[in-house]
């Protein structure tokens, strides 16, 4: 076996140009597949990272009616849903996989936030003191909410950078006054999220997902919110899970706990708490981007097929060039298996060498592509292993016919032929 491999390398080295040209199909095919898979993986990783928020692992649990999220923008109070207490919040933090829970209320529409007569159309939140740590916001300038702001029901607001740029372009926001539902709120600080979002895929769904982020967020204290929007509105829970994989289960157990504890007559009103499944959303997006790329993989596979046929062709040439050698070996007592093994080894060494070059080329190409076109790529180790195994397999499959031909050669004919 080792001898065969050594002989195969000698043979390939002996016909350098021919071997390289034969390998070219395999090289191109494997390189294309590695590049495509790396691009897919890079895009997928980024989708996941963007949606999940890069290590924050926060999942939102909100009130649903049936399968749809409850729209609370009209400010209606729901008699069957009680407000989540601090005690319950602490209970939630003890659930499996849950690290921290923050409570908040939110509006996107009908928030009636104005600055000098211009309406702001981003998100508005009423948050507790756990919200910023859970989501990983940190203060840029100004000041954060203080306990006194809450205790004394001060009408103060904190904005994120996007909100600042959409409401106060080119101005210092701190100290300005916003009108929210007719109440004046003073901007006291600006916060920013630790991880930067950067949308990748351009579809309507993505646009919708990222759009709200671009117009920003205005944050009020729970108490400030209650002054502007009314009391007793059901809260949402932002659940920080201990890991990305724990998000789904953590979100679900919080949702189940809240549904059981906070909602009365759930059979009649069909209300329940449900967790948004970001992982699932990410997977849906990934499937979308996958399907286009799968087509490319098929095209690359055709290149491999053509490459394989090239290998078969050159192996047939090699067999007929070496009839004397085969005849002699058989005369000296080599059995069919040995001749078969020799040529199969040669074919698969040829293709695996091609595969190796293809893998290196593919990695290089993926890196180049990610630099040139500013798309993310991530080298997939399983893809490399599969590509290597696949290229050996191509050698075995397409080497089989020539090798069988060699093994079945009649030694007399083989020796006699000139």
């Amino acid at each position: 076996m080792l001898g065969n491999i050594h002989q195969a390398f000698l043979g390939i080295w002996h016909h350098k140009l021919r071997s390289f040209l034969t390998m070219l199909g395999i090289i191109i095919g494997i390189a294309a597949i590695i590049t495509i898979v790396s691009t897919i993986k890079g895009t997928n990783d980024q989708i996941k990272e963007n949606l999940i928020g890069s290590g924050n692992n926060v999942v939102v649990v909100s009130l649903h009616q049936g399968d749809y999220q409850m729209d609370l923008s009209e400010g209606q109070n729901l008699a069957d849903v009680s407000v989540i207490t601090e005690e319950t919040r602490q209970r939630l933090e003890e659930l499996d996989g849950v690290v921290a829970v923050a409570l908040f209320r939110q509006r996107q529409w009908n928030a009636q936030v104005y600055y000098r007569g211009t309406e702001y159309n981003g998100y508005t939140y009423g948050i507790d003191e756990h919200y910023f740590p859970v989501y990983g916001y940190h203060l840029c300038y100004g000041r954060d909410f203080q306990p006194e702001d809450r205790d004394e029901n001060r009408k103060v607001a904190v904005l994120d950078a996007q909100a600042v740029s959409s409401i106060f372009p080119g101005e210092n926001a701190v100290g300005k006054t916003l009108e929210i539902k007719g109440e004046p709120f003073t901007v006291i600080g600006v916060v920013e999220r630790s991880s930067k979002f950067r949308p990748v895929i351009e579809s309507m769904q993505d646009y919708y997902m990222y759009a709200d982020d671009s117009s920003g967020s205005v944050f009020l204290t729970e108490q400030g919110w209650e002054i502007a929007f009314g009391y007793d509105e059901p809260q949402n829970a932002a659940v920080k899970a201990e890991s990305t994989d724990a998000m789904t289960t953590a979100g679900k157990s919080v949702a189940d706990h809240l549904s059981a504890k906070q909602i009365r007559n759930s059979k009649e009103n069909n209300l329940s708490y449900k967790s948004e499944d970001l992982l699932q959303q990410a997977e849906q997006l990934q499937t979308m981007s996958d399907s286009t790329n799968k087509l490319l993989i098929w095209i690359a596979a055709i290149s491999l097929l053509v490459g394989g046929i090239g290998v078969m062709n050159i192996m047939l040439v090699s067999v007929s060039e070496r009839t004397h050698e085969i005849g002699l070996k058989k005369a000296l007592g080599a059995k069919r298996r040995r001749i078969l093994g020799q040529f199969l080894t040669e074919a698969s060494v040829l293709t695996s060498l091609g595969g190796l070059l293809g893998i290196l080329g593919g990695i290089g190409l993926a890196k180049l592509l990610s630099k040139a076109m500013d798309t993310p790529t991530a080298i997939s180790v399983p893809a490399i292993i599969v590509a290597a195994a696949f290229s050996i397999m191509i050698g075995l499959i397409f080497g089989l016919l020539p090798a069988t031909k060699a093994a079945r050669m009649n030694p007399i004919d083989a020796l006699r032929r000139d």
Partner: protein, 227 residues
């Protein structure tokens, strides 16, 4: 008795026509014999040599080599027989061009499943036996024709075969080298090995102990009635 042929016939089909090549060949060879088979081209001597060497099977008749019935064997079993009992020496040497003299000699031993260390040791011994102790690492294209043929003889002898089968062993050599090869055959025979040599040169055939003639597919063995 090393080999015995009884009424061996061989014919080929050319289209639908059966072309007989060998007729009722009877031959027995004892250990230590040195036999030359002479005949003009087209007489069937190559076909006879192929059958003797287990490269081809007879159409009818019984051929026993070291007691084994050759006609009943299949491709792989024939390869095993050749490896075990027969050492070939060809007119144009047929050495592997990419292998050193030593590796060429060791090749049939590899097919016999001899472990590497032992096979190289035996190959060295065989090369010393043909006077090429100094040239073991040389490639065939670095050796003269006579030296190549000696490597081929070493390769044939390394497996300690029952029968050394030589097909025009001096055909590609000049007279002087041919002489040396023939001297080597004498020496090998004197050490007890059995040799069958096929040639069309009377001077070469004369070196053998027995000379048979083949003509039109019929073999005449001296001391026996011509059939």
């Amino acid at each position: 008795m090393i080999l015995k042929m009884d009424n061996i016939c061989k014919s080929y089909f050319r289209g639908k026509n059966e072309v007989p090549v060998l007729h009722d060949i009877c031959l027995s060879v004892e250990k230590g014999d040195y036999l030359a088979i002479m005949g003009p081209s087209g007489s069937g001597k190559t076909t006879l040599m192929n059958i003797l060497g287990c490269l081809d099977k007879p159409s009818s008749g019984v051929y026993r080599l070291e007691g084994e019935n050759v006609a009943a064997k299949k491709d792989n079993a024939l390869a095993e027989l050749r490896n075990k009992y027969i050492g070939f020496v060809f007119q144009s040497f047929y050495l592997m061009p990419s292998m050193s003299a030593l590796d060429n000699v060791a090749l049939p031993l590899m097919y016999a499943g001899v472990p590497k260390k032992e096979r190289l040791e035996r190959a060295r011994e065989a090369l010393r036996g043909v006077g090429l102790a100094e040239r073991m690492k040389f490639l065939p294209n670095q050796l003269s024709g006579g030296q190549c043929q000696r490597v081929a003889i070493a390769r044939a002898m390394a497996g300690r075969p029952a029968l050394l089968l030589a097909d025009e062993p001096t055909g590609a050599l000049d007279t002087a080298s041919g002489e040396q090869i023939m001297d080597l055959f004498d020496e090998i025979n004197a050490r007890g090995s059995t040799i069958i040599m096929i040639t069309h040169e009377p001077a070469i055939a004369a070196r053998a102990k027995t000379v048979c003639h083949i003509r039109d597919g019929r073999l005449s063995v001296p001391g026996e009635e011509v059939r």
